[in-house]
């Protein structure tokens, strides 16, 4: 895997793009979960 990525740098850039996207997605997912909790708490009142 290491040798492959060393010889095909484009795939390394692809992994970097995917890591960036994954980080942003996880953050948005956590914000969404917090929002649902708040909405749930409002609804239970």
């Amino acid at each position: 895997m290491h040798d492959f990525l060393e010889q095909n740098a484009m795939y390394l850039v692809l992994i970097i793009a995917l890591v960036t996207w994954a980080g942003l997605f996880i953050y948005l997912f956590s914000i969404d979960r917090n929002l649902k909790k708040l909405e749930g708490a409002e609804h239970d009142k």
Binding site: V13, A17, V19, T20, Y27, L35, L38
Partner: protein, 222 residues
């Protein structure tokens, strides 16, 4: 924030990705296609600086006006900035493994970003340690202002006064002229712009969430 803004962000980021992978770049000895990371990694670092600046400005506003909305904005900007700093660190480390041989080299930029993570990590620790909202906002605002004072030093000054493994003069040379290939420079600036718009969208969502939380706390207290 209207839908045109959101659709524009989607289109712009898609174009950045197309530019990153499809548009040919000139041969850069020692880097080759690895140079394409500049379209993703540098905008992440740029946004970290912008968000910490916003956090500081809103902290100053809070201390002047004592309106909790500024604390909400400051805290939200710091949190989103922290996320982008982590992403810049991780993407940089991945690139370093294949360019410098190891994930972590204690290069001046790596050391600087690590210290920044510690400084802003302490900001969140401080916030979570105080229950009283007013007191939390006051202390966190003072801390955010002091924390930002270190940002220009760690991001712009230290990497330039200590020898670094990071490629030098990639965008602007020592005489202040643009040294980057014009096509690469166009995609790079486009990427900076697009990621900045994406950042403001994420920040907007985060602020709206924190406002709701604040309103809920204020309702309970009243």
């Amino acid at each position: 924030m209207n839908n045109i803004y959101k659709y524009s962000v989607f289109v712009l980021i898609s174009l950045v990705l197309v530019g990153t992978f499809v548009v040919p770049i000139p041969t850069i000895p020692g880097l080759y296609d690895k140079a394409r990371i500049i379209y993703l990694h540098v905008p992440l670092s740029w946004i970290a600086v912008v968000s910490f600046l916003l956090s500081m400005i809103n902290s100053v506003q809070y201390l002047r006006k004592r309106d909790l909305i500024y604390d909400v904005r400051s805290h939200s900007a710091a949190e989103v900035g922290f996320l982008f700093t982590i992403l810049a660190t991780v993407t940089g480390a991945l690139w370093a493994k294949f360019n410098w041989g190891t994930y972590w080299n204690w290069d001046p930029r790596q050391t600087s970003i690590f210290i920044l993570l510690l400084i802003y990590g302490a900001y969140f620790a401080l916030r979570s340690a105080i229950d009283n909202y007013e007191q939390k906002a006051k202390l966190a605002s003072v801390y955010a202002i002091i924390a930002f004072v270190t940002v220009p030093f760690f991001i712009f000054i230290m990497p330039r006064i200590v020898e670094s493994l990071h490629p030098a003069d990639t965008i602007i040379d020592s005489q202040g002229k643009i040294s980057m290939n014009p096509v690469m420079f166009t995609i790079f600036m486009f990427s900076l712009f697009s990621f900045t718009l994406l950042f403001f969208w994420i920040l907007n969502i985060k602020i709206r969430l924190e406002k709701l939380k604040l309103q809920r706390i204020q309702k309970i207290n009243n």
